[in-house]
Amino acid sequence: MQSHDGQPQADRSACGFYYAEHTADVLIRAWSTSMLGAVRQTLLATASLAVTTSQVRRTGERTVLIEAADPVAGLVAAANELLFLLDVEGFVAADIAVCPAPGSSCGAEGGASPASGGSCSWQITLSGDLLAEAIPPYQVGTIPKAATYHLATLAQVQQPLSSGYAAERWEASLVLDL
């Protein structure tokens, strides 16, 4: 996993994210080999703005259920749930798991493809810590207000390889209002 500003140093890695240029806010670009993997990377990018996830201790868990009309709406809703927990509880994430919600009719991918606009139902589990109780305290970075629909995408793309073949991967983008 990679997380840094600007273009990724090795975007042929299996998964990762970076923060792209956006004048007033933050534009996240994330990728993975699966749709839910790309969602996870986007959420890790969102969480890492506040406190770098690798520095967060795992003292508790939060679980949220996302039901949305389509996976892009699901992506936006999931990021907003994470920001809700941050704002109300001061909960910062160390790691995030994204999987189909129990009992949902979504397949292992977590929903129909974005092209068909199928609905999605996801369970998101965050392990992390509470800012107010953290000893030593975390260094807090940027606190987004909300995830927006602007430039929000979640799509399967073909990535050309040096061998001349192409690999498929899932890419996501999300703008967070600051």
Partner: protein
């Protein structure tokens, strides 16, 4: 230089984006800017967002942008658009997530010499008195019942708790309360976020600023505003905190569905909207107005804490410092207003997304004390340069639905700003200019470095020369507290 997006100059400060420039535009776009600003606008592609807003059903007049224009989401920052209340839509993207983000300016009876002698304790007291940063807890704790009162009554609620005076309400846009507020339209999630955030600063570009008026351009209007050269002022820039953000998030979910229900075609999903007269439109208007009232209550509570902290810093009762309110403006809001269009008085919903109301002399919505000269317009700059007080004009009423700029506007992304300097570097650079800065986050300070913003003097010059508001005075920062 070729102009971005088919922009056509009307004069030195008005650039027309004809409706033929992009498919779906129902009207022209109009951008207020200088020639020098066009390169940034082109690089930013913010003019494309002006074109997108021109696609909104029921738009009245042009889709406009002020010279602090920059790329936002849906609407550009600096965007102004009015829609017909019976045939048009209301769009949460035309207000933004920070509903009623706005500014108020307090006058004092202090001068720079007096403040320089106590600047460090003053900034320290203000920093301690107004909670900020993530969560921003430490504010007034509300119950669900008192939350309903805040959402309904706005700044008046805070005054009723002894946190201000009736004079404060008289000097506030709309008296610090919009009657269209419907507390029941605000979700439980939104009220949960707001229960412990009243009286807090939040983060990002929110701030408190101690400044001195170092230039007066219009002595008559300045006198009417009760301000003068050499006077120290205190500004408060903040909005509706997590409650407002959640209202916008909730509303966009409703609107994304509504767009399909009402068969509205939009070039950008973030422009999701609904007919103003629809249940979704009315719900958003009610919730947005309630969130706007929360923001006014927030600024009023912070004002009370600022007055107390200033008194403590100077070892006097706050009343001895005459910290009275010059004015309070909203710059992210949608309001139902009466305007003259093609010679007829009609009711429109004016969206101002990073734009400020600028009503002229004689307008009934301008406080009585200012009605002879016009409404004060408060335009904060970045923390290293100036802020301004302007006055509204007749030309603004004629051209921009009584609107003007709101601030400096960003030119550099936050990632680029953080690469350029650390927060501590920004503090040192400003200290060398005699400006004491304290922030709740070093990353936040770097993101808010002066170089990340347009020069607000240029923004103000454009609106002044274009005649949509007039310069009254300039304020130079002495101390800044960043969220």
């Amino acid at each position: 230089m070729s102009l971005p997006g088919n922009l056509r100059p009307l004069d030195r400060y008005r650039w027309l984006l004809p409706r033929e420039a992009a498919a779906g535009m129902r009207t022209d776009g109009l951008i207020y800017a200088s020639q020098d600003m066009l390169a940034d606008i082109a690089a930013d592609r913010a003019h494309e967002q002006v074109a997108n807003v021109a696609c909104l059903p029921g738009i009245v007049g042009r889709s406009m942008a002020m010279p602090d224009i920059h790329w936002g989401y849906g609407f550009p920052i600096g965007g102004v658009a009015a829609t017909d209340v019976t045939r048009g839509v209301i769009s949460p993207g035309g207000v933004g997530y920070d509903i009623n983000c706005g500014v108020r300016v307090l006058r004092t009876n202090l001068d720079e010499t007096a403040v320089r002698g106590r600047l460090e304790p003053l900034v320290a007291k203000l920093f301690a008195a107004v909670p900020a940063g993530v969560g921003g807890k430490g504010g007034v704790e509300l119950t669900p019942a008192t939350m309903e009162e805040v959402l309904r009554d706005g700044a008046a609620w805070a005054v009723a708790q002894g946190l201000g005076t009736r004079d404060d309400l008289a000097a506030c846009e709309d008296g610090g309360r919009i009657s269209a507020a419907r507390p029941a339209a605000v979700s439980n999630k939104a009220t949960t976020r707001g229960l412990r955030q009243l009286g807090t600063l939040g983060s990002g570009n929110h701030f408190l600023e101690v400044a001195v008026i170092d230039e007066v351009y219009d002595e008559r209007v300045a006198a009417a505003f009760g301000i003068s050269r050499g006077m120290v002022t205190i500004s408060i820039h903040v909005g509706s905190r997590g409650l407002g953000h959640q209202v916008c998030t909730d509303s966009l979910e409703d609107m994304v569905k509504a767009v399909k229900r009402y068969g509205i075609t939009l070039p950008d999903r973030q422009l999701a909207c609904a007919p103003l007269e629809s249940p979704e439109g009315q719900k958003y208007l009610g919730a947005m107005s309630a969130a706007a009232n929360y923001a006014w209550a927030n600024r009023q509570v912070i004002t009370a804490n600022v007055r107390r902290a200033a008194g403590e810093a100077f070892g006097v009762e706050p009343a001895a410092l005459d910290l009275s309110l010059v004015y309070d403006v909203a710059h992210n809001i949608a309001k139902i207003e009466q305007h003259t269009v093609d010679g007829r008085q009609i009711e429109v919903c004016v969206h101002r997304k990073g734009a400020t109301r600028a009503f002229p002399a004689g307008h009934p919505d301008v406080p009585v004390r200012y009605r002879e000269v016009g409404q004060p317009v408060l335009v904060p700059g970045d923390m290293g340069r100036y802020s301004f007080i302007l006055v509204g004009t007749d030309r603004a009423m004629a051209e921009t639905f009584g609107s003007t700029c709101h601030g400096a506007g960003r030119v550099m992304s936050r990632t680029a700003a953080k690469k350029q300097a650390h927060g501590a570097d920004v503090q040192r650079q400003l200290a060398a200019k005699g400006i004491l800065v304290r922030g709740h986050s070093q990353a936040g300070l770097a993101e808010e470095a002066p170089d990340a913003y347009k020069d607000v003097q240029e923004v103000v010059r454009v609106v002044h020369e274009a005649g949509i508001s007039r310069r009254v005075c300039r304020m130079r920062p002495l101390g800044v507290i960043k969220g």
